[in-house]
Every structure is written in structure tokens, then in C-alpha cells.
Subunit: 267 residues, 2 copies
Amino acid sequence: MNSVSIVGVGLIGGSFALALREAGFEGRIIGVSSQPAIDAALALGVIDETLPLAEAAAVSDLIYLAQPIERILQTLGAIDALVRPGTLITDAGSTKVAIVTRAAGAVHRGRFIGGHPMAGKESRGVEQADADLFRGRPYILTGRAPELESWIERIGARLVVMTAEEHDRLVAVTSHLPQLISTALASVIGAQPDAAKVAGPAAVDLTRLALSPYEIWRDIFATNADSVDSAMGAFIAKLEELRSSLRSPEMEHAFEEATTAAKALRR
Amino acid sequence: MNSVSIVGVGLIGGSFALALREAGFEGRIIGVSSQPAIDAALALGVIDETLPLAEAAAVSDLIYLAQPIERILQTLGAIDALVRPGTLITDAGSTKVAIVTRAAGAVHRGRFIGGHPMAGKESRGVEQADADLFRGRPYILTGRAPELESWIERIGARLVVMTAEEHDRLVAVTSHLPQLISTALASVIGAQPDAAKVAGPAAVDLTRLALSPYEIWRDIFATNADSVDSAMGAFIAKLEELRSSLRSPEMEHAFEEATTAAKALRR
């Protein structure tokens, strides 16, 4: 792998570039992004150079799509004609079924493997890029690609291979549901004028995700609505079960079950 | 105020003792608790001495009940006969209506003011006691008591005075609801065998409260079930609203509303 193009040089794309370099990648790192992002990325040394997408695609061994989901879907419709045969294309979008489905119909000269690093920050932009962003975090791939897998391991991430369908069903529960829970809780607390007077660490921690900007979530909900709907249904059913157990010894069993699950998440 | 009895020398009672001392209290601090707690508290210098409840009550200007809620209710039934007329009695229980109601019927020689410091740790016991536990945190009182208020301010807490009813209604939303949300989310995640493989920081943060032991929650739910039920109802209604907006531009408004509320909590 001698040359990599990062398409969308923000927090994730920029962090992947920095992580590759820190892990010993010695080839070219080409950025394809908006002019302000390119200017910042060049100034910070995150990328080596910039090219238009067509020229970058023609000289790259790996093309890393780190755009918003809707932009990834658009890029997939255009990029196959631009790459050399066999070029590996991957992405970092937060849902996988829509992207993998689009790639199956659009990518024939290149090889597409969907990806999703489970990492992020509250702030966005290449200025926040961090070579250690992926360290210790799951990095999901929707298929096998040995040259990409070895770099994922070298940047310190935990490689997980699963289907796009399984990914979307699981992240609906572990990521999209928590976001909606935090948003709903912040609204309910906000509807009580004096709640802030008594709010302790529990309320502050559980409303942190509610600070996330909607623009990254629009595409996630649009491309994973069925799984998110199911996850919300299961969660509401569990809450109703707890609600009916407030005065019952059943609640102790529910706490034990939840503690076991919360500990398992931390192993 | 020359002498204070701490009844129940655990995390909260022990921290109040340490905080008083650090804030310049020079009188006696008497501990009333189980033998292991007393042994640890004496060894750590958290209390000066120990006495049986009857003797401690008879010599104290302030009696600080930091037991579990059910034990506070029991102590309130016994303590009034033991105190000197006018002795100030307060508590640190997590719900207030049941305790204030019991005190109204049982405390006549003494003066009772309910209290609730919005502070805690994941680990319990006097070994975890910390003079700075209350610093910057809300400390609710259900009435006025100038000598207690001045110490609450001197230990660095933010004094908030409200009725027991208002307290219980608000903490149902800011504390008891977050606990049940975390418990329910951990259960739903735990029901997906491979969820831990893809869990990122959102899932880990939102299931932290699910590690809390049930024993402190049993009494809270038993004494605040109606307000908790209402809070859960409002939260489920908001979640159902979001669920029906997954593909709709309404979601953007919901995110903006929640972000505003989450920011207000942090001011």
C-alpha cells in the first residue's frame, strides 16, 4: 500500500491519516475535501498533498471515505470509474446496510469493504484529529481485506468483522438508542423549570450526548430507521416493565440483570 | 454548635464529618453506627468518639441522620424522646416527603429540617469519605435553619431550599429516572449477545449507573413511587414522539430543544 486518499478530511478522516502515519505508513497521504479542511489539514501536517477526487482516485491503493453518509452514497456512485482495477475502497460511515448496498451496485472495478470505527469526540473537524482516536476501540469491517485489517490492528483498534445487517442492528442498540435516550431525557428535564437546581452527576452524565449536533444524526436515522425503531421498542418495553415493578421485589432481579450486563460491556 | 452526632457513618455521614472539620468546626463529632463502621471511622479520624444513640442525642446540638431511608424513618420514631429541647435534627435521605411526614408526627422536642446533598460516589462506606464530596453540589433543605445553612455553605455546597414535595418531584426526573434508564438500557444491550463487540463510549457512559447496588434504591422507589412513575411516563411519551419522528424533519427541532436543555443543566 503506497498511497492513500482520505475523502472528507474531518475528525475521523484526519485521525485515520495521523494514525496511519504514527503506525509507520510511509506512502503518500492525499486529502480530498473542502478548501478550508484541506488548508487546515496541510497546515497541521495531517495530509501530504491534495488532489481533485478523479486524480486522487487514479493514483491511490486505498480510498478512505470519511464523509457524512449521504455524501458517501454520492461518492460511491461516481468513484468506480475513476479508480484503477482492484483498488480497495472503504468508508467510516455510522450505518452500513445503505452504504454496502449502494457499493454492491456501483463498485465493480474497485473492491469495497464497509468500515465503522467506534470512536469520536464531541467536537468535530480536522483540528480535533488525533492519532490515538481509534486505540482500544472496536473497528468494524463488513468483509475481509487483509491489507486494511493489518493497518487497523497497527493503529491500535480492535478489529471486528460482521455483516452490514448485524452491524446496523447492534449499533441501533449501543449507539443510536443511547443518543435518543439522552435527547429525550434532556427534554424531559428541561420541561421542569427548577430541575437544574437539584441536578447531580447522573443528570449531567446522561444528557451529555444530547449536546451532539443533529446534522450527523439525520443520515443515521434515515438509513437505519427500522433497527432504531426496534431498539426503541425493546427499550420502552423494558422501561414499562421496571415502571410496573417500582414497589415490587421484581426490581431487585432487574437491577442484578442490568449490573451483569453493564459489567460485561466493560470487559 | 458545639457538638454534632453523625448517625450512620458511611460515605455521606463520614464525608459530612470530614467537611465540617475542614471548614473549621471545632466541637465534638460523635459517631453512632455499626461497630465496623465506627472502628474504621475512628481509625481514619473521621469522628472523635462514639456513643450509643441515647447518650449521643442527649449531648448534641445537631443530629445528622445519614442512614438508609427506612432506618431514618425508624430513628425518627425514637429520637425525639432522647434529645434536649430545641436540638436540630436533619437527614441526608434521597427522598424527602416520607421522612418529613414522619418527622412532623414524631419530632416535637427537637426541630427537624430535611436535607439531601446531591453528591455520591460509586463506592460506599466511610473508607470513601471525602471532605470535598459536597463542594459545588446542590444541597437541598426542606426548611430554614440558619446554623445548618451556614455550615452547608462553609463546606462548599450550593444551598437550595424547597418543599419536600418539590424535591421529590424534581429528583424523580433528575436522579431516579436516570437510574432506571441506565438499568433498562444495560438490560436491552445485554440481551444482544454481540453488542459488547461494537459498544463505544456512548453505551459505556449510559450504563454506568446500572452498576449501582439495588439496596440503596429499594427505599427510594418505595418512598417516591408516584413521582417516579410520572417521570417515567413523561420520558416514555417523549421517546415515542422521537420514535415517530425518525424519518421526519421534526427530529431537528427535538434535538435543538434537547441541546438547549442540556446546556442549561451545565450552567
